[in-house]
């Protein structure tokens, strides 16, 4: 039965399914285990099922099938207020009719914690998010970033072991968001709590997480640390969703050990690493990160297939250059080069030869 159960797992989803209407599944057979202290991000487009998973974990939605376990204990039947999970909401959900102190006192009061201890905990939690001076303000008197800090403090003040965060930084501007990302990361590290974080922002996911679960269509497409996710996407969806990506459709000409030869639509051959493709003759989508494409002959690895390209646009970006090219009939093939010694400005119309290491081109499912 407990096929996915792992020893020492703190949060577990065991074959969890969720349907709202009895006809379609928004979460399909979800299996996930996370150890204590992990920062796990659920990443995916809207409607991919990530928020539903979070809500099931928090207890605001019930799983249609399967079991959710917290510290080894099934919690499907445990009401939300008895799960002891801290939660931060996208709109902060600070109670507008209470001051900051009262907001923080709320979880302590319902737990019957005495006044002195309460005040100490509140002070500590507010200091932790650098909001010590704002205890007597009302939420409406605070800025968005300040409200977010208070919401964090409130979710942490009763010392939960697990904290859920539902797109907590979505409403902040870019600079503040990046700043808060670090703060949350530091809190996680300092307090040793387990965090499940939901976002649709891939850079946020990559910056903060120990592991990222990429959701699409109710299924986890890939569960991996950020670098692996970026470097070695398991399929075309992940490759496309994380970072910038060039795609070249083609047919497998030959697979030889760790190396595949792919014939593109225009007839050229390129080299790639086969990831999830069939044998000879099956269709594939080759994915290459723009920064792994080279045109200087000395930088192209020896033995790799090269391909002709026509420069369409050259953009100077300071530390790097960005070149849009026509490659194998596709007009939006991007090459990104570091502004290093020996690099030059390419002219539109110029014909060049490009290439890459076969390890950097991944032959994936054709979508």
């Amino acid at each position: 039965m407990a096929a996915a159960q792992q020893v020492g797992a703190f949060v577990e989803f065991d074959r969890v399914q969720k349907s709202y209407d009895g006809e379609t599944l928004v979460v399909k057979d979800l299996n996930l285990a996370m150890p204590k202290g992990e920062f796990l991000t659920m990443l995916g487009p809207s409607g991919s099922g990530k928020t539903t998973c979070l809500m099931m974990l928090a207890g605001f939605e019930t799983a249609t099938h399967g079991e959710i376990r917290l510290a080894g204990r099934p919690i499907n039947q445990v009401p939300p207020h008895k799960r002891g999970i801290g939660m931060v909401f996208q709109n902060y959900a600070l109670f507008p009719h209470m001051t900051v102190n009262e907001n923080l006192a709320f979880p302590l009061e319902v737990r019957g914690i005495g006044k002195a201890e309460r005040e100490a905990k509140i002070a500590r939690a507010l200091d932790m998010v650098k909001m010590g001076k704002f205890g007597n303000r009302r939420p409406a008197q605070l800025s968005g970033g300040q409200q977010q800090r208070v919401a964090l403090a409130r979710a942490l003040v009763f010392d939960p072991e697990l904290v859920l965060m539902d797109e907590p930084l979505g409403a902040l501007d870019k600079q503040l968001r990046e700043h808060m990302q670090f703060e949350i990361k530091h809190l996680h590290e300092n307090l040793g709590i387990t965090v499940v974080y939901v976002t649709h922002d891939q850079s946020e996911a990559l910056t903060m997480s120990d592991r990222v679960a990429v959701f699409n269509d109710g299924v986890i497409q890939q569960l991996a640390p950020p670098d692996e996710l970026y470097e070695r996407p398991a399929n075309s969806f992940v490759a496309q969703f994380i970072g910038e990506n060039n795609k070249l459709p083609g047919v497998i000409e030959d697979v030889d050990g760790g190396r595949a030869t792919v014939r593109l639509a225009t007839g050229e051959l390129i080299d790639a690493t086969p990831v999830n493709v069939g044998g000879r003759g099956s269709r594939t989508l080759v994915s290459i990160r723009p920064e792994r494409v080279e045109y200087l002959p000395e930088r192209i690895p020896p033995g790799a297939h090269t391909i002709e390209a026509e420069v369409l646009e050259f953009i100077y970006m300071g530390e790097s250059f960005r070149t849009r090219m026509r490659v194998a009939g596709s007009d939006d093939f991007i090459m990104k080069n570091r502004n290093a010694v020996g690099q030059r400005r390419l002219q539109p119309g110029e014909r060049i030869t490009i290439g890459w290491s076969p390890q950097d081109a991944r032959a994936l499912d054709p979508l």
């Binding site: 207020h81 939660m87 109670f95 709320f106």
Partner: protein
């Protein structure tokens, strides 16, 4: 001074007013620039302003005026008014007084205004109307000495209370209607006293009106709160259907709705017959649910329910579920989350709905008139009665003014306690 200022422009730079590019004072330029848009704004609100003046301020002013002003006596009895003015209050009516009365009675006969004057005096001294009409009818036959002549016509003219009332009425302005509206009156000696117990009506009715209105407000809140919550949390396509059901009564005539309640609630009505048919009550124990207070409460609660639901809904709809979820995740049971988080956030809606329902209930009269019987009558029914049946408009105006004052007091209290800017009417 002007010279001094221009001689030393740099000495007082802070007090120098800012100038526009061509040297005109900035403030004046700003005022000029804004004056036009202000004029235009005024022009736009003018129709509304006139409308409110004509349909609201003016009638209410008229009402207030009428409650303290009744010149039916003073206008038609010039001689007697002159005598009252020339003598001290409490003066025994002498021959001059009766002569003035006789002259006025002749005027009443000529102008056919005896009834008007008699009605005015009758408001405060019942049975005196016929004195005026009957004596005026034969006024031409009155000869000096007038005292004997008039008393020969009718002994009633000697009543000192009558003369006290006439002296009161000789001034067009009087507070007597307000006294009457709170069951007080002037005695013969001019003191203020309660009217006899069998005439006391208005104070009790005011109290009953406020008590019933408060009860109806509470009932609409109890019934309306869950409905509004359901409306606010259901998916839009279901809540729209439910909203139509809530609003349906709004689209039906008040009379139709009230009549429907009669059909349902009366002794041989649907509810009683069902109860009898199912054996819950015996045929001779049919419940009296209409033509009494119960009828008024049931029908008015139903009719006023949308006025509670709509403000509540408009407050509840924008409350995202995350507040209650946050409270739950922080460890609150669903009851605690409701009481400490959701409920306080809906207080502005409760206050708005409560104020709206209470004020409407205080002024309702059609429904109580139709289903209230005797015990379900409200003060507005008496106001309507004095407007249309007894035609004592001054008393009606005094009663209405007291009601208005009570409502304004309530509004003021509300502002002090909750703050009018928290009011959300949807």
């Amino acid at each position: 001074m002007a010279d001094l200022a221009s001689d030393a422009p740099f000495a007082t730079p802070a007090r120098e007013s800012l100038k526009t590019a061509d040297g005109k004072p900035l403030k004046a330029a700003l005022a000029r620039a804004q004056a036009r848009s202000r004029r235009r704004a005024l022009f736009l609100v003018l129709p509304l302003l006139v409308f409110i003046l004509v349909t609201f301020v003016f009638p209410i002013g008229q009402m207030l005026f009428r409650s303290v002003h009744n010149d039916a006596f003073s206008r038609n009895m010039p001689n007697l008014v002159a005598w009252f003015e020339a003598t001290e209050p409490g003066t025994e009516p002498d021959e001059a007084a009766y002569a003035a009365l006789a002259a006025d009675l002749k005027l009443l006969r000529e102008n056919r205004t005896a009834g008007e004057v008699g009605t005015r005096v009758n408001y405060e001294l019942s049975g005196s109307r016929s004195l005026f009409t009957s004596t005026a009818r034969r006024a031409n036959a009155l000869e000096p000495p007038f005292r004997e002549a008039i008393l020969a016509e009718n002994e009633g003219w000697a009543d000192p209370r009558l003369w006290q009332v006439m002296r009161d009425a000789s001034s067009a302005y009087t507070a007597n209607f307000y006294l009457a509206a709170v069951d007080l009156m002037h005695t013969e000696t001019g003191e203020i006293a309660r009217v006899p117990p069998d005439r006391q009506i208005y104070v009790n009715l005011f109290l009953r009106t406020f008590a019933l209105s408060a009860l109806i407000t509470v009932l609409t809140l109890i019934l309306g709160y869950p409905i509004a919550h359901l409306l606010a949390t259901l998916p839009l396509r279901y809540s729209n259907i439910l909203m139509i059901l809530v609003l349906l009564p709004f689209w039906t005539s008040l009379l139709v709705r009230t009549t429907a309640w009669i059909v349902l609630l009366q002794q041989q009505g649907v509810i009683n017959s069902t109860l009898v048919a199912t054996g819950l009550i015996a045929d001779d124990q049919r419940l009296a649910m209409i033509y009494n207070q119960t009828g008024t409460i049931i029908a008015m609660t139903h009719i006023l329910l949308p006025f509670m639901v709509l403000p509540l809904y408009s407050v509840m709809r924008p409350i995202p579920p995350s507040y209650v979820r946050a409270a739950r995740s922080l460890g609150a049971s669903s009851w605690k989350a409701f009481r400490s988080v959701y409920f306080p956030m809906t207080v502005p809606g409760i206050a708005a709905g409560g104020l709206l329902v209470f004020i409407l209930a205080v002024g309702y009269y059609i429904t109580p008139a139709l289903v209230g019987g005797a015990s379900g009558q409200l003060i507005s029914n008496l106001i309507a009665y004095h407007m249309t049946d007894s035609l004592n408009w001054s008393l009606a105006a005094a009663l209405a003014s007291i009601l208005l004052a009570a409502v304004l007091l309530l509004y003021w209290l509300y502002d002090r306690l909750i703050g009018i800017d928290n009011l959300k009417l949807g």
